[in-house]
């Protein structure tokens, strides 16, 4: 019963896909890699404004296990990424995607874990948040991690990390043009399509990032919009 793709997995994925396509959310777009396979999604993530990743268009594949949503999917960037928490093959290493077995990393950092109520949306928001705030305690790419820390600790004077990221962001423009996508570059554009922010936790993490700190007023404005949206949705 539980070994082959279960009814639960198909049901949960259909529901999520339908919901995301009906109401596109901030920062990313999704589609199936192949229309006949519900277990592999292609996602395009927009680099968050006011970060090194602004204007970037990053593609990744999400693979869902047969026992989804009891186990998490994997996320692998197709776009070349130089990031402390992304392996050389593009695989993203983040606590929310760890299978629920005991792992030695537990206890190092209080971090979000997989549970069956997590969704593609909560995962991608965590990934977007991770772009700008790498976790250097358990790096997947040690060189990138060292370079990031130099950049951070020198308050941006050591430009090696920044240069690599900007170059990679620049390189994604072509792909965006090919897909006829205009990547949002202001916070306002970035959030304008956002759905009501129900899962406060993730949104809090997301907006908590340093780069929004000086935009407090605008941040409030978005929350108001969210509430209005919420009203519309229910009517």
């Amino acid at each position: 019963m539980a070994q082959s793709p279960s009814g639960s997995a198909v049901k949960a994925l259909q529901l999520e896909l339908k919901k995301i396509q009906a109401e596109p959310v901030e920062g990313f777009r999704v589609k199936l890699v192949n229309d006949s396979n519900l277990f592999e999604w292609e996602v395009a993530i927009f680099g968050p404004p006011s970060t090194l990743y602004e204007g970037g268009y990053f593609k990744a594949h999400m693979k869902f296990p047969a026992d989804y949503p009891y186990s998490p999917p994997s996320v692998r960037f197709i776009t070349k990424m130089w990031h402390p928490n992304v392996y050389e093959n593009g695989e993203v290493c983040i606590s929310i995607l760890h299978p629920p077995v005991d792992d030695p990393q537990s206890g190092e950092l209080p971090s979000e874990r997989w549970n069956p109520t997590q969704t593609v949306r909560t995962i991608l928001l965590s990934v977007i948040s991770l772009l700008n705030e790498p976790n250097t305690f358990s790096p997947a790419n040690v060189d990138a991690s060292v370079m990031f820390r130099k950049w951070k600790e020198s308050k941006g004077k050591e430009k090696e990390y920044e240069n690599i990221i900007r170059k990679q962001v620049q390189a994604t423009k072509e792909e965006a043009e090919k897909d006829q996508v205009k990547v949002p570059t202001t916070l306002q554009e970035y959030c304008v399509l956002s759905t009501p922010a129900h899962d406060n936790q993730v949104d809090a993490d997301f907006y908590d990032d340093d780069y929004v700190d000086d935009l407090d007023d605008e941040e409030e404005m978005y929350h108001e919009e969210d509430e209005e949206d919420s009203g519309n949705e229910e009517s």
């Binding site: 539980a2 050389e88 093959n89 077995v101």
Partner: protein, 268 residues
């Protein structure tokens, strides 16, 4: 996850994957050989099962036989406590309309409380809807057989378990002050929930039982079949506060605990 990446800096990766693969194999075997919830077994069958075990266990089985008529087994997949709890309780509600109404009310209200704690509304609603569908089978069709089918349907049974896990997590988080000192390691209540309660297949301990009985206000009894004493140690979980006043809080049902596993007991 990437075995081509510099393996020296994170040797735990491969170990993790191996553990996981092995675990999956074991899960498959268990799923193939054990029903999520079994039919009733008589105690003669259970006595037979234990005939090769040592004297202490045989004696304890005889003790159970003198007090209980049947045993219903649950699959040993780490979710047995929740499945045993869910099945035994709904089965009891088949004959207790008043308690059913009380429970339905608690179950309905729990959804907003969990959303308030930060669980994503979209998926939480899905789990809650399925949970309520199963609960409402108490009225319709309202038979043990109906519940039996539902609890052996992975789509319904596992969603039901997920929701009970969320209720435990919700109760622990809402009452974090009362539980934080009973948690191993340097973990917050929230971390404990995300590591030991919310993931499927994570086994239940005393703290999980206390939480679920309190969250739902249901008194239960657990017979502990360990190596201590001559009879099974009977322990009552009474969520109705005052320890002295446990006169009219008869347990809704009784579970049998054999180290690491819970089944359902049916009295004579």
């Amino acid at each position: 996850m990437d075995q081509n990446a510099d393996a020296s800096f994170d040797p735990s990766k491969n170990y993790d994957e191996d553990t996981l693969a092995q675990q999956r194999e074991i899960e498959k075997e268990i799923a193939a050989s054990q029903a999520m919830v079994s039919q009733l077994h008589t105690f003669d069958e259970i006595v037979e099962e234990y005939s090769q075990e040592d004297a202490i266990y045989r004696q304890k089985i005889e003790d159970l036989k003198s007090r209980f008529k049947n045993l219903r087994k649950t699959r040993g997949d780490g979710n047995c406590f929740y499945r045993a709890f869910g099945f035994a309780y709904l089965e009891k509600l088949l004959n207790d309309g008043k308690e059913y109404k009380r429970f339905l009310d608690i179950a309905q209200k729990s959804k907003d409380e969990l959303i308030g704690l930060g669980f994503p509304q979209f998926t939480l609603e899905d789990f809650h809807d399925t949970f309520m569908d199963v609960v409402k089978m108490v009225e319709n069709p309202g038979t043990v057989d109906g519940l039996f089918q539902a609890f052996n349907d992975a789509g319904l049974s596992d969603y039901f378990v997920v929701y009970l896990r969320l209720l435990v997590s919700g109760h622990l988080q809402q009452n974090a002050d009362s539980y934080v000192y009973f948690i191993d390691g340097e973990r917050s209540v929230k971390e404990f929930c995300s590591q030991e309660v919310e993931p499927m297949g994570k086994e239940s301990d005393h703290i999980h039982i206390v939480s679920l009985t309190k969250a739902l206000q249901i008194a239960i009894c657990v017979e502990y079949m360990d190596r201590e004493g001559e009879k099974c140690n009977s322990f009552k979980f009474n969520p109705f506060e005052s320890l002295a006043d446990d006169t009219d809080t008869a347990p809704a049902f009784t579970l049998l605990y054999r180290p690491g596993h819970y089944d359902i007991l049916y009295p004579l």
